[in-house]
């Protein structure tokens, strides 16, 4: 039995976690990312870890190749084919604006680079899927010649009402395949079978935009892995928290936009189960951003609301994670009104925070942590990087002067604002959906998460903070644990007083079969777990909520039960239900999950390491206090330390505020009791 490997490529670091099922041993390491050649960083990580390709049993990858190409606009030249008359859809968008009172605001540019690459087909489906004008195959063939001449690298097809009737899109797709067999084609009913033509088009364009790039990436990484002796199929993490074969991912790249953060949520699910914590909020804070997620009753929340930037949606299934610009590298600045603000801009990896000594001059969150004694300049990344405290004096004095503060007070304010920003994001994923954060535990990971989690928990009144093992490479750990997951959707609206249950069940069976087929194609051999759900709304509403069908079959009882659950869900979210109102059943979803064999991640380490020392750490209200500083590996199970304290380890540092305690749980997690009562 070989190694189970997870590698997560982030903006700054590439993280590797290797699990040996034979011994139960887990190894991890961080190496620098190489944005110009991300695959090389992966090969480097394997070699640094002393892992030969032949030893690898399974390899799952979390990648930002797609996400970065969307953000940096380095995807391909894509053409957009749509129903004639609607060629300008990507340019017109939804006509609202992001910032209310800003005459300088610019509408976001679509990923399709020119209006001349937006071409109409003289066809039309009606709202009920009835054909109003057929597709003229000759016309489409003529368009193909235009596309070839224009030198496009991929094509996005989005015809009106294709989520109701897929016929025309399928026909256009087959003609494109005949005429332009070498061109990748993304088709809207496959990429995102949702209503609202702009959102569906934008998602489909994003998919096509990434096709050549992700295809090349997967091909070259496969080759590099083969070169080091790794001959097996490997998988990529999707935004929905499931893994898919790399070859399949290269054909639906928009599914990978939240690949990295999805790993973190998958690991969260596992750790929460092991610790017996059903309700968990997560804080994944890295160098440039903080991701916040939620687990309710042990289950992740899923959504389809993702925006490449404001106004450019990519509506694919993803774990509901809220990202904000609050990371270690987030820059502190003073706005025109003299108010101190932090982020969303980040100093990134280059030049990075001032204390990295790479020429950074702007005060960042990491700098504030260092100034206040919360980071050990000699033990950043386990001593692989020396932080330079002396560089901080002048920039802190300068910024502090602008807001009439002392430098330490400024540093404390920077942390406080960053923490408040993260607390707001946590409120968005909890309070707003009817969940009281005080009834949750906060699980912190990412390089900077454990340093801020206790303070964020205090702000929110959260009683318990959990810092899992391997917090610095937690997302990579999640990759080891990812199941294979396929979501399939069938869209047709029914009113609850007139449901064709036989048809619905037939369609459920049909898409279940397709989902299982796909699971097989992705290499899964076992018995899949199937979940069936219906997206519902009160007749008149335009936004739906997913309601799971308990027995999987929609008979009279199943429908009545689903309607009751929809009412309950609506009441939970919005404070009211409209009992007896007609409900629209909008779309039908099947999720097929291929469970990977469970990994035994039990904690077996014996305490080893140096005895605690003390270091002055600044806290608002008390000033500098002596804090206990201990290495995580020196803690024994059940051992408790009173704050103020810092628990250091290779990838992260955990801060325990005065008045709080931290204990090493039997599963190896650090558990901080904040003193807030639930």
């Amino acid at each position: 039995m070989g190694l189970v490997i997870g590698i997560d490529t982030g903006g700054t670091f590439t993280d590797l976690v290797a699990f040996d099922p034979a011994t139960g041993r887990i190894d991890s390491l961080k190496t620098s990312s190489m944005p110009s050649n991300p695959g090389q960083a992966i090969v480097n990580a394997l070699s640094e870890g002393g892992i030969a390709g032949g030893e690898i049993a399974t390899f799952t990858h979390g990648t930002t190749v797609g996400t970065n190409a969307l953000i940096e606009r380095t995807g391909c030249k894509v053409a957009f084919l749509t129903t004639r008359g609607f060629e300008d859809t990507p340019f017109i968008q939804r006509i609202n604006r992001k910032v209310l009172y800003d005459l300088r605001w610019q509408k976001p540019a679509p990923l399709v680079s020119s209006r001349r690459l937006c071409l109409g087909i003289d066809e039309r489906m009606g709202a009920d899927g009835e054909e109003l004008r057929p597709v003229d195959a000759d016309e489409v063939r003529a368009l193909c010649r235009e596309l070839r001449q224009a030198g496009v690298e991929a094509v996005a097809v989005c015809l009106l009402f294709s989520y109701v009737s897929t016929e025309h899109e399928e026909l256009v797709k087959s003609i494109l395949a005949e005429e332009l067999p070498e061109l990748p084609v993304s088709v809207s009913h496959e990429v995102a079978p949702i209503w609202r033509e702009y959102e569906r088009a934008s998602t489909t364009i994003a998919d096509a935009y990434l096709r050549p790039l992700l295809g090349r990436y997967v091909t070259s990484l496969s080759q590099a892995l083969r070169d080091v002796g790794m001959l097996r199929e490997w998988t990529i993490m999707k935004s929905n928290g499931g893994a898919m074969l790399a070859s399949a991912a290269s054909e639906s790249p928009v599914q990978t936009v939240m690949s990295g953060p999805a790993g973190g949520m998958t690991a969260t699910e596992h750790v929460a189960r092991a610790l017996g914590e059903p309700n968990v909020l997560t804080l994944d804070m890295g160098g440039t951003s903080a991701d916040v997620g939620i687990l309710v009753d042990g289950r992740q929340r899923h959504t389809t609301e993702y925006e490449i930037e404001w106004g450019l949606p990519a509506a694919v299934p993803l774990i509901d994670i809220k990202s904000i610009g609050a990371g270690g590298g987030s820059v502190a600045w003073v706005d025109a009104g003299g108010f101190l603000r932090v982020g969303p801009r980040s100093a990134g990896a280059e030049p990075g925070p001032i204390c990295y000594g790479r020429g950074g001059t702007e005060v960042t969150v990491t700098d504030a942590n260092l100034l206040l004694g919360r980071l050990d300049p000699g033990y950043f990344l386990a001593g692989r990087m020396q932080l330079q405290s002396t560089l901080l004096d002048e920039p802190f004095a300068r910024l502090a002067g602008r807001v009439s503060m002392e430098p330490v007070e400024l540093a404390a304010s920077v942390l406080e604002i960053a923490n408040e920003n993260m607390a707001s994001a946590i409120k968005m994923v909890s309070l707003e959906r009817g969940h009281d954060p005080r009834r949750f535990s906060l699980l912190a990971f990412g390089g900077a998460g454990p340093l801020h989690a206790a303070s964020v928990a205090r702000v929110l009144g959260i009683p318990r903070v959990i810092v899992p093992r391997f917090p610095g490479v937690f997302s990579a750990l999640g990759l080891l644990l990812a199941d294979i997951r396929v979501d399939k959707v069938w869209t047709q609206a029914f009113r609850s007083n007139d449901v064709d249950a036989a048809l619905v069940n037939r369609q459920f069976d049909r898409i279940t079969e397709r989902a299982i087929d796909e699971l097989r194609q992705e290499g899964y051999q076992g018995e899949p777990e199937i979940r069936r759900a219906i997206n519902m709304r009160y007749f008149g509403q335009n936004y739906e909520h997913e309601v799971e069908i308990a027995g999987g079959v929609l008979d009279d009882d199943g429908l009545a039960d689903a309607l009751r659950r929809f009412d309950a869900l609506h009441a939970e979210r919005y404070g009211y239900a409209i009992e007896g109102e007609v409900v629209e059943l909008v779309s039908f979803k099947v999720t097929a999950i291929g469970r990977r064999p469970a990994l035994d991640l039990a904690y077996r380490d014996e305490p080893a390491g140096s005895p605690p020392v003390t270091r002055p750490v600044y806290f608002r209200g008390t000033g500098f206090m002596d804090a206990t500083v201990v290495h995580r590996s020196s803690l024994a199970i059940g051992e408790t330390i009173a704050g103020p304290a810092l628990v250091e380890e290779a990838g992260s540092t955990t801060l325990v505020e005065p008045g709080m305690t931290v204990e090493l749980h039997e599963q190896g997690a650090l558990v901080i009791e904040t003193g807030a009562s639930a």
Binding site: R84, G85, F86, E87, D88, F91, I92, Q93, R94, I95, N96, R97, K98, V99, L100, Y101, D102, L103, R104, W105, Q106, K107, S114, R115, G126, A127, L132, L160, F161, Y163, W195, R196, E197, Y198, E199, D335, A336, G337, G338, F339, L340, R341, V403, E416, I417, E420, S424, M428, L431, E432, Y538, G540, Q541, N542, Y543, H570, Y574, G575, Y576, I578
Partner: protein, 572 residues
């Protein structure tokens, strides 16, 4: 824990909390409402007020509503008295002659109590798609009295101590053509107020009431200070500008609006003395709408990070003589004052200041919501339907930047209704096309944004339509040598006919753009043209590469590139 200090960190936190609370009220409205005008177009605003009616926070909603709701709330408090509010009450109000923007805009106001004491109000104002006017959807373009514009509601409680006041509900629901949708939308509004009430309770529980009060007062003081500082950066002086509303749906006449703007050491006086007497038709603005439009302009000209609360409005004095188009007297109709006259007033401020602050202004935007109303009986369900359809416009060029193509006019921040939602919800029309219009952006060194065109075909035996458009006769102006954007308008082509004609030519309406209650039949087509934005600066000074790119992209025709921009030689 001791009470939190009122430092700038705490103030930022409170401001962000209240602003995100307003945003979340909006999300609740969007996800739970029944009409596309709410759940797709987002034609509503959610705001928080202090206990005496001072605006504390808002988010990215419709500027005209936000500016006006101040007056609506003030009036409500004055008419009912603060003592009238009890915990769990919800007050409904839409009467323009009591401070509402126009009849379709319904305000719900809920008092928030803490330990028995009134500490805040939460409110939303939303454009209901059906209001029981003379024609479906309201905004009847040829109304001559406010009574024709829909059911008027003075401030009345629709909930008293948490219980529905059934009598009032029954009156409203029997006056609207689409009571089921009206009720669904009101529920969404009330749900969003409940959310805000809970959120304010959480804030006060966390920080204490005294802190909440002190922070509110300080945030308003900061906003006022910063607003005055921004106004001080505009050279003191008196500036003038004139524009006109082209017709009122009743007669041919044009209605000039005259602005004399005085900037004086951080204060602003916007004086509309000299503007035309009020119109017979529905293009009149009430005072609150005019004031709101002035605020809107200055909020656009100043730092977007200023906390958007009552303090922002303190530096302004607005003079609008009663009985004029900018401050009409009862019972003149007002529907278009809020949708059409409002953006024109806002743009006039930019026009007046173009020489004084050329870096900050923009040329005129298309300046119309292109309101197109329709209704009938849905043959699929036999249920009545009504819709207020509106469109985007091109925005004006700015120094260094072309205007945006197709964005909703400056008094709103609504979204369009997707074709797929529109045709699913409304059986009356099929949409044939929705596109940008070449050469509609005003020429300039920085070109105006493009307007658009939409063509509908009637797919039911009959449907009743009304309209209240503007800018069909007079072009959106440019600044500093920039040219005019293209006009918009409305055309009809009867089933089987070859030519587009105006509604005047086809149906004998008084105005081509403002009328009500015209019946169209299966196969008839309607075309809405949306105006472009004005240009900024001399088109001959435009970067030649940009002119060539515009031709390449079809934003500008080759003919116009040569004739207007003076492009010579190869297009490349």
């Amino acid at each position: 824990m001791s009470g939190p200090r009122l430092d700038q960190v705490a103030l930022t936190v409170v401001d962000n909390y209240l602003t995100s609370c307003c945003r979340d009220m909006g999300v609740t409205m969007m996800t739970t409402a029944y009409s596309p005008i709410f759940n797709e177009s987002l034609d509503f605003s959610c705001v928080i007020f202090g206990p005496s009616g001072d605006l504390l926070a808002q988010a990215e909603f419709c500027p005209s509503q936000i500016g006006t709701i101040k007056f609506t709330v003030d009036w409500t408090i004055e008419e009912l008295g603060l003592d009238a509010f009890e915990e769990g009450d919800v007050v409904l109000h839409n009467d323009p002659y009591r401070g509402s923007g126009h009849v379709p805009e319904h305000m719900l106001l809920k008092p928030v109590f803490w330990e028995g004491e009134l500490i805040a109000f939460v409110a939303n104002v939303a454009h209901m798609s059906e209001v029981g006017a003379k024609t479906p959807g309201g905004l009847s373009g040829d109304a001559t009295e406010i009574y024709q514009e829909g059911l008027l509601l003075p401030p009345v409680k629709i909930k008293r101590r948490g219980e529905d006041v059934d009598d009032v509900w029954r009156i409203i629901l029997s006056n609207h053509r689409t009571p089921r949708v009206t009720l669904g939308d009101f529920r969404a509004m009330m749900g969003s107020l409940d959310l805000a009430e809970r959120r304010i309770h959480t804030l006060v529980a966390d920080y204490g009431l005294e802190f909440f009060r002190a922070a509110s007062a300080e945030l308003m003081a900061i906003a006022e200070r910063r607003m005055r500082a921004e106004i001080e950066s505009i050279p003191d002086g008196t500036y003038t500008f004139t524009d006109a509303i082209e017709d009122d749906g009743i007669s041919e006449g044009s209605y000039p609006m005259v602005l004399t703007l005085t900037i004086d050491q951080g204060s602003v006086i916007a004086d509309f003395t000299g503007s035309a007497p009020q119109a017979v038709g529905p293009v009149n603005a009430i005072y609150a709408v005019t004031a709101s439009a002035v605020y809107n302009a200055f909020l656009h000209l100043t730092d977007p990070t200023i906390p958007r609360n009552e303090g922002c409005y303190r530096p302004f004095t607005i003079i609008a003589p009663p009985g004029t188009i900018v401050n009409c007297a009862f019972p003149a109709p007002v529907a278009g004052g809020n949708t059409e006259t409002s953006p024109r007033i806002t743009d006039m401020i930019f026009g007046a200041l173009q020489e004084a602050i050329p870096d900050r202004v923009a040329a005129s935007c298309g300046g119309t919501s292109s309101p197109f109303l329709f209704g009938g009986i849905d043959p699929r369900t036999d249920e009545p339907y009504a819709h207020f359809h509106f469109e985007g416009v091109g925005w004006g060029g700015r120094r260094g930047l072309d205007g945006n193509n197709m964005v909703v006019t400056i008094n709103g921040n609504c979204r369009n209704t997707p074709v797929e939602v529109f045709e699913t919800r409304y059986p009356a029309f099929r949409i044939e096309s929705y596109r940008l219009v070449t050469d509609s952006g005003g020429p300039g060194e920085f070109r105006g944004g493009l307007g658009g065109e939409r063509i509908f075909t009637v797919t039911v035996p009959e449907v009743t339509v009304s309209a209240l458009l503007n800018r069909m006769k007079t072009e959106p102006w440019g600044v500093l040598g920039g040219g005019e954007g293209a006009v918009g308008g409305l055309w009809v082509r009867r089933s089987g006919a070859g030519e587009w004609r105006t509604f005047v030519e086809e149906f004998g309406t008084m105005s081509p753009s403002k009328f009500s209650g015209v019946t169209l039949h299966a196969g008839d087509q309607v075309k809405i043209l949306m105006p472009g934005g004005g240009g900024y600066g001399d088109p001959l000074a435009r970067d030649r590469e940009l002119v060539r790119r515009d031709v390449g992209e079809g934003f500008v025709s080759e003919g116009a590139a040569r004739a207007v921009y003076g492009l010579t030689g190869e297009l490349g």
